[in-house]
Amino acid sequence: MSAAALETRGLCKSFGALTVADDINFRLETGARHALIGPNGAGKTTFVNMLTGALPPSSGRIVLGGEDITAMGQAKRVKRGLGRTFQINALFRRLAVIDNVALAVAERRGVARRMLRAASTHADVCAESMDLLATLGLAEDASVRIVDLPYGKQRLVEIAIALGLKPRVLLLDEPAAGVPSLESHRILQVLDNLPKHIAILIIEHDMDLVFRFARRITVMVQGEVLVEGPPEEIAKDRRVHQVYLGEQHHG
């Protein structure tokens, strides 16, 4: 078996007596289109925070492209190719769209600390950022500040920043959250056109989106993986129905 893009082995997290992630063995293949679903409080956010390094696991290991990153800081994981987007926009609100993306690009290219040449003369950073915006249909908005940008487009900038890091693995945390339904098709388009070689894990509530996008789905319940499989199987799975309909478990 070749190395997965991202893998967790026996990942656990507990706060005192409360276990929020219990022995999670998860495998994200190279170029995967994978979705993580589950009811509120299932531990999805905790899981993602452990992947990105925002939260240290109680036990278990996280392996990125064959390298153990369990003890690595957030910034280093990003440098190793682990990118993420945020459920609630985490943008540089008073900066222009281009600067939002260029900050990420410059960080990746290792020029972000330079202080002798003007930022705008770093042609490579600017060009790459503009290209990225163009592929997301944001080229015309490059010099608009985020605060002046419609919310739907802000969600796209959220994705653009993550792409600026050239991730091998991209975690999308509810990419369409809070977008009026009429505008959400644009986000779906963008997701469909993401580079094929990036392994993508999407955390999403919208089942239309999940079943359209994902080729594999993992269902989490109460900190554990309930079931994993292709969408057809998940749609038929009785346990999944129980979770969502709230039928009482007997035995």
């Binding site: 959250a177 509530h205 919208d206 089942m207 969502y244 309909l245 709230g246 009482q248």
Partner: protein, 231 residues
């Protein structure tokens, strides 16, 4: 006159829109179940009625009086009570203080709440953060009742509780809906449970209404329920 009536409501957090085109009427003493997968806006709907969200458009009327522009505490004083999903017990207050701090004159008194949840009477001296999840849930409900609401907004009151506690709460819930002149909006993941205790139901999907009709119809049509609530 309807207890609660929403028309073309559009609301969210800041500029984020979570709810769109929400409209329904809840008759006096009515009980409404709000269903849907998580993240579809159920909690936001309750928060909007209570006044915790950014209101973009539409109207909310409580007993014929527009309340969308009122501050939260005014809505509470008019008779809207909230049992939040996260319970939000005040940790620096004792169990009893959690109840008395919410007191408004009316039928519901400390004694009646203790009668409904005897467990709370035993725990009256404990701090708000020193009681179990089930007791916190009872306290959250009791606290809302102390404000003597005519409209009770309940957000997943059965979530994460042991079956035996669920049983106790369900009984209390039945009692509230049947015996008391309370109108209830019940958000619940356990769809069948919620449909069982309500007359009408609302299913949300991506912040919009996907179904609105009698609870019994939905309960009688498992196929439809599955399609609406699962995928």
């Amino acid at each position: 006159m309807a207890e609660l009536s929403l028309r073309d409501v559009r609301a969210g957090y800041g500029e984020t829109v979570v709810l769109e085109d929400i409209a329904f009427e809840l008759p006096e003493r009515g009980a409404l179940a709000v269903l849907g997968r998580n993240g579809v806006g159920k909690t936001t709907l309750l928060a909007t009625i209570m006044g915790h969200t950014t209101f973009h458009a539409g109207s909310i009327e409580y007993q014929g009086k527009p309340i969308a522009g009122l501050p939260v505490y005014e809505r509470c004083r008019l008779g809207v009570g909230l049992v939040p999903q996260t319970r939000d017990i005040f940790p620096s207050l004792s169990v009893e203080e959690n109840l008395t701090v919410a007191t408004r004159p009316g039928r519901w008194t400390l004694a009646r709440v203790y009668d409904l949840f005897p467990k709370l009477a035993e725990r009256r001296g404990h701090w708000g953060n020193q009681i179990s999840g089930g007791e916190q849930q009872m306290l959250a409900i009791g606290r809302a009742l102390m404000g003597n609401p005519t409209l009770l907004l309940m957000d997943e009151p059965l979530e994460g509780l042991a079956p035996i506690i669920v049983e106790v709460l369900l009984q209390a819930l039945q009692r509230l809906i049947n015996e008391d002149s309370l109108a209830v909006v019940l958000v619940e993941q356990h769809a069948k449970v919620a449909l069982g205790v309500t007359q009408s139901a609302l299913v949300l999907n991506r912040g919009r209404i996907a179904y609105s009709g009698p609870s019994a119809d939905l309960l009688a049509d498992p196929q439809r329920l599955t399609t609406l609530v699962v995928a």
